[in-house]
Each structure stands twice: as structure tokens, then as C-alpha cells.
């Protein structure tokens, strides 16, 4: 197969970037898109040019590092699929493929196709956990959890933190990511004691980072490689509102709306 690639090149966070065209010939349909980029980078190195910076690690769709915007869609047009799991047989022979980094104000470009997603770690650090210090746990089966609830929590917990939801959202909202974590922990009995505090603190940190609001466009759910449901955003709103109007923050608890 042959392709024309247009790839975003940007030297560093402060430099301007541009799309550069690279023709690709004799690509095997069994290659992954990243393997095609590996091949292009080998060519660039042989020519003494700087290869294209892009991130990948596990290359099996679970570590969440490999996000690219492909023809305008984060992770490309195949549903429920991360960038690293896209194979060239999914593209038309002769197609022009535009590859850009994830585009979002809160994800500044580091270089070429690599972005900085540390804001997600800061949101988790603000409250995305259950405070259960090592050694203090009760016997695992002492608290039964209905299979339905546990499965639902797992649906939310599957989030890989790739940030495609933010990159696809016209508002640059991180609510699918945050909603998934609030729902994962809030659905489980172990997560109840901190449930409303958690929602309030995580939403506050999300706002501090500068992520946008949700206007129900649903792009996030459409591009999510793990099919995280919009329903979890609704759960987040409910927990957040309750935390503000019913539960009320403890004085001095920090976070706060």
C-alpha cells in the first residue's frame, strides 16, 4: 500500500509547528500505524534527519500513552481502538493521512506529536483514590459487592488516561476522565466514606487546571478507546452537586468549590 502522510512537526513547546508531507511506499497492510512511523523514522535517521517524536509503550492498547489525532479524530476513525492498535489494512490504499498531536490547551505540546498530560495526575492526586493505608484493610469478602455494581465500577475503571476525551471535546473538557474515576470509586461500598469530598476536590482541581465545561456534545464517548459512557459524567454532576449543597465541605478540608 502507498500513503501520503502529513505530520505535525514542532521543535519544542515554545516553537511554532507545521505539517510536513512524507510519501510512504510499499506499506504492508499488516503493519500497525506506529510500525509505519517506525519505518519512516528509520528512513529519516538514515538521511541524518531528526526522527518524528511520538509516544508509545505497551503497543497493546492499555498503557494509554500513544494518542495521536489521525485525520482529525483522536485515535483515528476505528471505534474502541487506541492509536497503537490501528493497522494499515484499516486505511484506503493511496490515502492521505494527517497525523497531529492531541489538541488541547491543557495538554501543551512537548515536541512533534508528544504532549504533556500531567494535569491528569494532578487531578487524581487531589482526591481520585480511596484512603486505605497499607495494612489496615479488612478481610476482602467481609463486604459483599453486587456483581452488577462491581461490573459497572469496572466499566468506569477501564479508563486508560489517554486524554482522547479532552482532545475531541470542543470545550477541552476532562469530564469523561474525571467522571469515570468518580464513578468507579463512588459505585463501590469501599468508596462511600469519601464519595462527596472526592467529587468536590477532583472537580475543583479540574477547574484549576483550566479544562472546559461539558455541553453534551458526546464526542468524548465516541472517541474513547475503552467505551467509557457519558452516563458517568451525569453521575459526577450528581455527586458534585450533592457535595456542595447537601454534604457541605468540612471546614478546613481543603479543595472546595
Amino acid at each position: 500500500m502507498n500513503f501520503t502522510l502529513r505530520i505535525w512537526r514542532q521543535k519544542g513547546p515554545a516553537s511554532p509547528g507545521d505539517l510536513v508531507t512524507y510519501p510512504m511506499k510499499d506499506v504492508s497492510p499488516d503493519m500497525s500505524l506506529l510500525e509505519m512511523l517506525d519505518g519512516l523514522n528509520e528512513r529519516l535517521i538514515a538521511e541524518g534527519q531528526e526522527p518524528i517524536a511520538f509516544e508509545s509503550d505497551c503497543r497493546e492498547g492499555i498503557c494509554g500513552v500513544c494518542g495521536l489525532t489521525i485525520n482529525g479524530i483522536p485515535h483515528g476513525r476505528r471505534r474502541s481502538t487506541t492509536t497503537c492498535q490501528l493497522h494499515m489494512r484499516m486505511f484506503e490504499d493511496g490515502e492521505e493521512i494527517t497525523i497531529e498531536p492531541f489538541r488541547a490547551g491543557c495538554f501543551p505540546v512537548v515536541k512533534d506529536l508528544v504532549v504533556d498530560r500531567r494535569a491528569f495526575d494532578r487531578i487524581i492526586a487531589s482526591g481520585g483514590f480511596i484512603s486505605a493505608s497499607t495494612g489496615s484493610a479488612p478481610e476482602a469478602n467481609s463486604l459483599p459487592v453486587s456483581k452488577k455494581m462491581s461490573d459497572r465500577a469496572m466499566d468506569a475503571a477501564q479508563c486508560i488516561g489517554c486524554g482522547a476525551c479532552v482532545a475531541s471535546c470542543p470545550n477541552g473538557s476532562a469530564m469523561l476522565f474525571v467522571g469515570a474515576k468518580i464513578s468507579h470509586l463512588g459505585l463501590l461500598p469501599q468508596g462511600q466514606p469519601e464519595r462527596y469530598d472526592r467529587a468536590r476536590k477532583m472537580v475543583a482541581q479540574m477547574d484549576r487546571e483550566g479544562f472546559g465545561a461539558c455541553t453534551n456534545t458526546g464526542e468524548c464517548e465516541a472517541v474513547c478507546p475503552k467505551d467509557i459512557s457519558l452516563e458517568f459524567i451525569a453521575r459526577m454532576f450528581r455527586d458534585y452537586l450533592r457535595s456542595v449543597f447537601v454534604e457541605r465541605p468540612e471546614s478546613g478540608a481543603g479543595g472546595g468549590p
Binding site: S28, D30, E42, A46, G48, H87, K111, T134, A140, N141
Partner: protein
Amino acid sequence: MMELKANIPSGPIEKKWDKARFEMKLVPPAGRRRYSIIVVGTGLAGASAAASLGELGYTIKAFCFQDSPRRAHSIAAQGGINAAKNYSNDGDSIWRLFVDTIKGGDFRAREANVYRLAQISVGIIDQCVAQGVPFAREYGGLLANRSFGGTQVARTFYARGQTGQQLLLGAYQAMLRQVGLGRVTLFPRTEMLDLIVINGQARGIVTRSLATGKIEVHTADAVVLATGGYANAFYLSTNAKGCNVTAIWRAYKRGAALANPCFTQIHPTCIPASGEHQSKLTLMSESLRNDGRIWVPLKKGDTRSPDRIPESERDYYLERIYPAFGNLVPRDIASRAAKAVCDEGRGVGSRGLGVYLDFSDAIRRLGEGTIRDKYGNLFDMYDRITGENPYKIPMRIYPAPHYAMGGTWVDYNLMSTVPGLFVLGEANFSDHGANRLGASALMQGLADGYFVIPYSIANYFGQAKLDQVDEDHAECRRVATEAQDRVRRILAARGKRSPDSIHRELGKLMWDKAGMSRNESGLKEALAKIPLLREEFWKNVCVPGAGEDFNQTLEHAGRLADFLEFAELLCLDALERRESCGGHFREEYRTADGEALRNDEEFCHAAVWEHAGPDRKPIRHVEPLTFENVHLVKRSYK
């Protein structure tokens, strides 16, 4: 002369850990803040250690080369985590998990460590459930278990096919809670380049920021390495692209001996490579062997599609050779059997390097819906990669390098031969002997991080005399300058070959000569060729761009430089171990029916390698292994 003191407590095996914990020194709560600890690696072992040590009140710096600690490769573990809960009421116990693990490791692990692991396994599940890990449950709300390769009880806890992900997120969240509380400071995109040893104690590390290229020194009172395994020495493996041997290799060169580097695990169920462009291999969880049947055609070179091959012309070779365990034999045995049938010319797929994993019987018996519930995400992943639907066409699988049982030698307290340097998880050599059983890696990583290091590091602080050391110490500056010089040398080569092309060449050599089966002449050939390839690297590597920048080619080149040294030690260890055991199969040492032939008279020990200086042959020490509780028997799954 290096002294190997395993520090195994005396007394009956059931009491050793209790005794050790009672005798260990403590650091009182108010004193802990003054002790600083560096944790390198944020997978299950590193994140659980950083979280637990932070909770205790120590001052922690946690480093990872990824953009976020949540990306560590533990995230990709699929199948599950073992624990001796006996929730299945099928005869499991701490003792049985201990015996299974010793036997599974082909009697090349330390009894005391493995018993402790089995004891601790129970508490790990409690801890993870309390953190909100959504393990699979039965309709009554209690935890579900399944069986896993190499055992006859159902003791494996799982979260769909993403158990590693959920356990890692639990540990990551616990660690980030400590970040929020100010006890853990994170350093993502920061790679350890060297270890700083002062007065014989590990006192810091040299790092390179992968975002800016800046080389820095970090000092501490102790250093914990939890940097994973070295299967990428084979280039194609199931490990993530970034997995590397650098941290434990650099520590080795600073005095931390390496044990059993030739013990590498080749996983039987991976998707076969599709061509020369292949950049890594993808594991299909071993749990698939619970319901899938493995077969190849009876006839050589049978190119009919699988549905055209009648039952009478199929060879379900694992069921035939190992009737007691069938498709659930341990990984090393399943891998070698697959290689054997492919070597006979009965392999399937375009390259003849594959065997079928067939679900049609299970689908007929249980219905497609049940199979979808159990393995849906794995079937989807297979479909995405190969373009074939495994509900209709049998999967094709082939073995691939997956896990390193060998690693830094540690004593019972997980301390290396450098005082103050602790090594956890896959990076150490301690618990899996010559072969790891399925669902035991997650157990060991979390056991080390949550439940061993918090005690043993306090014991170290309680005894060690620690001088004040800061970043300007002459030794810190010297090691930093050496790291800086190595980066400059790589950049200055300006040759013609990319790191990737040299890494592929190394990987092919290692797979051919030191992969699933090994022999003396092949290993000697590899030992002759690796130094030449290393020379080629330093003369002819091409790394465009600058050192003071985000430069992925440079990252890869630095890791490759260490693999090119480490690979030699792996082959040397394989050459010197003149027996077959677990994942280490020497063609010269096999029984009449082709099975591994152990030599307990001469090799019932861990081989512990000491660095003897540049261009000198490393020194092979031994730590004898004694089996007082499990009798040394021939391992048989027939």
C-alpha cells in the same frame, strides 16, 4: 571477595517471617520524615512501595521514564493475581501455593522467600479490595476465582482481562494520595542513568530528564529499584517498548550482583509476528488456555484451513503428552512443546511459526455469550491485530519472551549486595526460580512493595550509620560526569546505523542462540558475536539531534548500550548452567523423552555474578539452595 548473606531467619518456615519482623529494627513515627528514599520505577512494586513508605511518613522521591507513573508496564498484565484464600474450597492453602511455586520454579528459588510470598498473598487481596480494585465477583457479591496454568486449584483473582491495570491503578492512586499529602514527590519522564555509592552505601542516583535532557543528581538515605525485567534483550517480546535493563545493569556495575540472568520466561500464548516490520509481540492471556484447546495438524506442511482438517487429523499435543494437566501445563513446558511441533514442520500460519488455540468446543459447550463474557476483550484485541475473528477461526499463537525470573540478587530483606540498595518485583531474582507460574508476578510485585519493604527498610535505617551527603559530594559529581560523557559519546559516533537496527540484530541473535532452547556451541557463538555488535554500536550508531532536548533515539541508544553488555552476561550464565531447568533448556541435558533434565548435584544453587571491572570476566558465585520443606523431585506434569 563478595559475601552473600541471604539473612534467612532461623526456625520453622511458617514462623520465619513473624520472627524476622519481630527482630527487625524500627524507626519511630516521628523520626521517619528525616529519612529520604528514592524509588525508581512506578509499576506494581515501585508504586506500592512509594505509597506504603509515604504512608509511614518517610520522604519519598519516585521516578519513572514514562510521562505518567500510571503507564508502567504492570498495566498490561492481563490474567490475574494468585492468593491462597481458598475461597473456592478446593484444597488450596498457603502451604499449597508455596509448594506449587517452588515446584513451578523447578527448585531454583529460595524456600523462605517463597513461603513468605504465599503468606502475604492473602493480605494483598484485602488491601486491593479496600482500595477499590473491582475484582470479578459472583452473583452473591463475593469474589470470584479462576484457575490458571500450572495449578490444580482455582486461586486466581481477576478483573476481566485487565487485572494488572486495575491493581496498578490502585497502587498509583495510593501513591498519588501521598503526592497530595506532600510525602511523595514525582519525577515523571526522568530516567535513572547510574547509581551513586558512597562509603559502600547506595546514596543516590544520576538521572536524565527525558523532556529537557538535563542530567541531575538526587541523593537519599536508601535507593529502591523496581524497574522491571529485561525481556527486551530479545528485541521482540511482550514487554513495552521502553522496558529496559539500565537501572539494574548500572547497579551491577556499581557492585550489586546479578543472579540467574539466564532464567527468562518464554510465554506460550502470544500472537505470532506478521513480518519483518514487527515492533513488539502481544500476549494473549494464559487464561485462554482454560477453555481453548491447542492443536496442530498431524501431517507436516498441511496448508488446509483449520475447518477443513477433520478431528482425526489433528494433534492436540498437550493433551496427548501431558494428560494430567493438558492445555494447562506451565508456561515453559507449553512453549517448548509448541516449538517442537513447529520444528517438526507442523506449525501453522504463513511463516509456519504458530499453533492453533481453538475455542470451538468451548463455544459449543458453553455458548458464544459465555465465552464473550470471559474473554471478549482478548478476542477483540486478537481481531484488531490479525484481522481474524477468533469466534469463527482458531487463534494462532506462538511463544515469545515475556518475563525475567533472574535479576538483582537480594537477601531475605530484598537488599542487594550494596547496602541501602533494595530491589523489588521483577527486577530482583528472588521468588520464581527458573520458571514463574501464571498470576504470580502481580502477587510478588505487590508483596514486595506493600508488605516487605516497609519492614526491611526500617531495619536498615535502624542499623546503618548514614553520613550527611549532598549533591555536591565529589562522588556524586564524578558519577554524573561519567553519565554525561556516555551521552556525549553516543551522540558523537555519528555513524550509519539506527539504534533500532542494532537492537533488532541483537534480538535475533539472542532469540536464535539463547531463546527457547540453548546449546553450548550456540551460546559460544553468541558470546563471540555480542562484543562485535557492541563495537559496531559504539562506532557506527547514528543518533540525530541534541543531548539537551527531548530525544527518543538517544533514549533508545542509551538503553541498548546496556542491553549489549547485559546480553553477554545472560549468555555466559546460560553457558555455565550445564543443566536444564524451568525456562532454561539446554539441549545437551534432557531425558530420553525430551524433557528438561535438572542436575541437582551440581546446580542446585543461584548463580550470582559479580562485576569484576571493565574487560574482565565477571566472577560467578553461588548461593546454595536447600530444600527442607519441599522434597527435590523431578517436576512432572504428565
